[in-house]
Amino acid sequence: MTSSKKTIKAARYGMTIDIDRCNGCGACMVACAVENNIPPVPQGGDRKGLTWIRVYKVDNGAQGADRRSAFVPMLCQQCGNEAPCAHVCPQNAVEIDPATGIVGQMPERCLGCRYCMAACPYHARYYNWWDPAWPAGMERTLNPDVAPRMRGVVEKCNFCHARWHAAREQAAADGKPDTEPVNYVPACAEACPTHAIRFVDLNQTSVEGFRMLEKLGTEPKIFYQSKRDWVRQIAEAPRPTANGSKQGKEASRG
C-alpha cells in the first residue's frame, strides 16, 4: 500500500477597503444580510440588530463648515495572529481555517457566554437575542447554503464561507485540483457599487493600506486605504464614532 501526500497551497483571504470611495450607501450591509440569512430587526424592537458588516460615519472632529466625514465599513477583521476571540472561547466555537485563514464561528458549539464579544477589540461580533424571524412568506427568499442561527449564540462575518464551499465544489466539478485556492467573492464586495471593497488572496496579491488597531498585533487581514491623514488616524482609536456626540447610537447618517 502506498500513501500519497498532498501539498495544499493555503490561501490567506483578506480585503482592501478604500474609505475614499465609500459613500456610505449601505449596500454591503443589505447584501450581507441577504446572503447570510440575517433577519431584520423585530417590529417595534429598540435593540440593535445583527449586522455582520456595519458602516460607521466618522468625522475629523471639527465643527460647522470645517467638519469633514468619511464612512468606514467595519466587519470581523479576520485576525491573522492570536485572534482574541479564538483564545477566549471555552467551547472551541471559533476556529481558524488553515486552508483559507478565515476565522470561523460555529453556532452549534457556541454557548452564548459572549467572552468573544468582550475580547474582540473591533466590536465585530453580535449576539443573537431572539430566534431569527422574517415576515410571513419571506422565508422563501432565504439562502439555502447558509443555516439560520438559533437564539443564544454569537454571530460574525465569515467572508461568506458558504460561497467558498460553493466555489470549491465548482472547482472540483471542473476537475481542478483540490490543493489549489479557489477564487470567490463575498457578498459585500460583490455588492459594493463603488468598488470600495475588494476581496483578495493576500498570498497572491500584495496590498497597501493601514489596519485597525495595528498596535495590538492581531494582524488583521482587512486593509483600509485613504489619502486623508485624519482618516488614517482613526485606526488608532478604540472605536470609530461620530465624534462621540451621538449618545445612544453607534453611527449617524450620511
Partner: protein, 574 residues
C-alpha cells in the same frame, strides 16, 4: 458500616461534584445547543435546483440590470450585471433586496375592485362638459403610459397627467457639475454609470448638510437651506454680496465657483427640480396607430375643481406630487382610485385603493434614466407570480376605454425592431438576437442610437417653492436625505435605518440637538412634522451633523407629500 442518611447525602453530593469532571454534563450542554438549532422558531431555507435569471430592476428609472439567483425557481439573491453598458454591475441598497417586496407585511393584498369600477363608470357616464376623467402617471415614459394616453383619447374629456420624461443630461461631456442638494453619488441617475463617469467631472455639492454625496464631492459648499436660487443667481452674474448674505458663503467662494463653472466647462447644474442644460431625448419607437393619443398635461395647467375621476398609477415608484397640489383640481364628488403597493402615498386620500402587483411580479418596461441621453427599452422580468386579487392598472384603465392593451409590450417591441434603430445588450452574450421580444424577456436592453445633435432645452431650476408665496414662518428649513421615495422597501433595509442609523427611514427625520431641546424632543421620539402642505407623524433622530434650523427628512411617500413642495416646516412633540 451502616447506611445513614448523612452518608447518602455525601454520596449524592460527591457524585454530582465528580460528574463535573467528566465530559457528560458538558456534552449535554452541547447537545442542547445542537437541539436548539432545530427549534420550530428557526426557519429552514427551501432547497432545490439553482438557476440564474436576468432582468432589470424596476424600483426606479435607472433600471439596473439584475442577475437573480433562484432556488427551485424562487429568487434568493440579486446582483448586478458587470457587462451592462450603463448600469455596469451596480445595484443600489434598495435594489439588492428588491426580491423581498412581495412578502412585505404592509403590502396591499385586496381591494374593492368591483365597487371602484362601478363608481368610476358611473362618474364617467355623468361627466359634465367642463369636467375631466384623468390618469395621473407617476412614472411616465412607459408603454403603460401610452396605454393611458390612448385610453384617455377614447374617454370623454380624458386627460393624461404626467411630468416631462423625454429629457436627459449629458453627464459624459460635463467637466464641472454644480449640484444643489442632488444626491449625485447616492442613487441619482444610474449609479453604475455615474460612478464610471466620476473621474471625468469636478463635482461641487452645495447643500446645508454634509450628505453622502457631499462627503464624496470634490468640494462641499455648506450653504444655508433654501438659498440655492440665490447661489445660482450669483454664479450667473447676479450680486455676489446678496448671495453671500443669503447662502452664508464668502464672496470669494462664490466668485471662485462662478469662475470654475465658466472656465472649466462644459458645466452642468443640477437641482431637485431638473438640470441645466438638459437635452431632448427621442422616445423608443411606438406603433403608428398609438399616436392618436392625448398629450401629457402638467397638473399646474389644469383648472381648479375640474377633475371628476382621478385614476392614479403608483404601481411603479416615481415622483410623488403633493396632495395639496392635486386636491384643488378635484371636484367635490371626485372619485379617486389609486393602484398601489401599500396604503402609503395616495392610498390615504383615495376613495378606492386597489392592490397592484409589486416588483418583481410583473413584466413592465422601464423608461430611461435622466443620465441616459439615448432612449432605452428594457423589461422588469416577472420572477415570482403575483398573489390572487392583484389589479393591473393598465388593464383597468384600458377596460374603461374599451381598448385592448394586453399585448401592448409586444406591439411596442415589434415597432422597435421594425425601426431598425439601436443596438441590443444581451446578458447571454448574443450580439444581435433574432427574437428581440424573447431577448428582452431574458434581460436584454435595447439602446437607441444617440442623435448627433440633440436639442438643448432650457429648464427652470432652483425654482421658488409653494410656501415661498406665503413666506412661511415655520422655523426649520427642509433638506432631503434620500434619493427617492419608496412606498415599500425590503424589511432588511432595517439594517441601514433602525440598526445602524446610516440612513433615515421612510418616516425618519433628523434635527440638531438645540432644535430638539427647543421642541421638547429626544432621540427616538415621535413627533408631528407640519408644513404648508399638511402634516405627517415622524420618528426623530437627534444629530449634531445637521445644522441648527434645518430638518433633514427621509424618503417615504408621506414625507414627500408633505415636504415635496415646501421649504420650511416645524416639528411638534406628540
Amino acid at each position: 458500616m451502616t447506611t445513614t442518611r448523612r452518608n447518602l447525602f455525601k454520596l449524592a453530593g460527591g457524585a454530582a461534584a465528580g460528574s463535573l469532571l467528566t465530559p457528560a454534563p458538558w456534552r449535554l450542554i452541547t447537545d442542547t445547543a445542537l437541539l436548539s438549532e432545530n427549534w420550530p422558531g428557526v426557519p429552514r431555507p427551501k432547497r432545490g435546483e439553482v438557476s440564474y435569471r436576468f432582468g432589470n430592476c424596476a424600483l426606479c428609472t435607472a433600471g439596473c440590470a439584475v442577475r437573480a439567483r433562484c432556488v427551485a425557481g424562487q429568487p434568493v439573491a440579486l446582483a448586478g450585471v458587470e457587462a451592462h453598458p450603463l448600469s455596469r454591475g451596480a445595484l443600489c441598497t434598495y435594489g439588492i433586496a428588491g426580491h423581498h417586496l412581495p412578502y412585505h407585511p404592509a403590502r396591499l393584498r385586496q381591494g374593492p375592485v368591483a365597487e371602484a369600477s362601478a363608481a368610476v363608470q358611473s362618474a364617467i357616464r355623468t361627466l359634465r362638459p367642463n369636467e375631466h376623467c384623468a390618469v395621473l402617471d407617476l412614472r411616465p415614459g412607459r408603454t403603460a403610459s401610452w396605454t393611458y394616453r390612448r385610453a384617455m383619447a377614447s374617454v370623454r374629456n380624458g386627460m393624461y397627467l404626467a411630468s416631462e420624461s423625454n429629457t436627459a443630461v449629458d453627464l459624459a461631456s460635463a467637466k464641472t457639475v454644480l449640484s444643489l442638494g442632488v444626491p449625485v453619488l447616492d442613487g441619482w441617475g444610474t449609479p453604475g454609470n455615474v460612478w464610471a463617469l466620476r473621474g471625468g467631472f469636478h463635482l461641487i455639492q452645495a447643500e446645508p448638510v454634509e450628505s453622502r454625496t457631499a462627503v464624496m464631492a470634490d468640494l462641499w459648499l455648506p450653504i444655508r437651506a433654501g438659498s440655492e436660487a440665490a447661489l445660482l443667481d450669483a454664479v450667473r452674474g447676479g450680486s455676489a454680496s446678496d448671495a453671500a448674505a443669503q447662502t452664508g458663503l464668502s464672496e470669494q467662494q462664490i466668485a471662485s465657483l462662478a469662475r470654475e463653472l465658466r472656465e472649466n466647462g462644459p458645466s452642468l447644474v443640477l437641482d431637485r427640480n431638473g438640470a441645466s442644460p438638459m437635452i431632448a431625448r427621442r422616445e423608443a419607437p411606438v406603433p403608428e396607430e398609438w399616436k392618436k393619443a392625448v398629450p401629457a398635461t402638467q397638473l399646474a395647467s389644469v383648472s381648479e375643481e375640474s377633475i371628476r375621476v382621478l385614476l392614479i398609477d403608483e404601481s411603479m415608484p416615481g415622483e410623488y406630487l403633493p396632495w395639496s397640489a392635486i386636491q384643488p383640481k378635484l371636484t367635490s364628488d371626485c372619485v379617486v382610485v389609486s393602484f398601489a403597493w401599500s396604503k402609503e402615498g395616495y392610498g390615504r386620500q383615495a376613495r378606492f385603493t386597489l392592490p397592484a402587483a409589486v416588483y418583481p411580479e410583473v413584466v413592465d418596461d422601464i423608461p430611461p434614466a435622466i443620465d441616459s441621453p439615448a432612449a432605452m427599452f428594457r423589461l422588469a422580468a416577472a420572477l415570482v407570480a403575483p398573489p390572487e386579487g392583484m389589479v393591473s392598472p393598465t388593464g383597468f384603465i384600458a377596460g374603461l376605454a374599451g381598448i385592448d392593451a394586453k399585448n401592448a409590450l409586444q406591439e411596442r417591441v415589434a415597432a422597435i425592431q421594425k425601426s431598425g434603430r439601436g443596438s441590443v445588450f444581451d446578458p447571454s452574450g448574443a450580439a444581435k438576437p433574432a427574437d428581440l421580444w424573447k431577448a428582452l424577456q431574458a434581460g436584454a436592453t435595447w439602446i437607441d442610437d444617440r442623435e448627433p445633435r440633440a436639442s438643448v432645452i432650457s429648464t427652470q431650476i432652483a425654482s421658488p417653492l409653494a410656501d415661498d408665496k406665503n413666506r412661511s414662518s415655520a422655523p426649520l428649513a427642509i433638506a432631503f436625505s434620500e434619493p427617492r421615495a419608496a412606498a415599500l422597501v425590503s424589511p432588511l433595509m432595517s439594517k441601514v435605518t433602525n440598526e445602524s442609523g446610516l440612513r433615515l427611514g421612510t418616516h425618519g427625520v433628523a434635527i440638531h440637538p438645540s432644535d430638539a431641546r427647543g421642541a421638547g424632543l429626544a432621540e427616538g421620539s415621535r413627533a408631528r412634522l407640519e408644513t404648508a402642505s399638511g402634516f405627517v407623524t415622524v420618528d426623530i433622530s437627534v444629530d449634531d451633523t445637521v445644522p441648527p434650523g434645518v430638518i433633514q427628512v427621509g424618503g417615504g411617500p408621506d414625507l414627500q407629500n408633505v415636504c415635496g413642495a415646501n421649504r420650511r416646516g416645524r416639528v411638534v412633540a406628540l
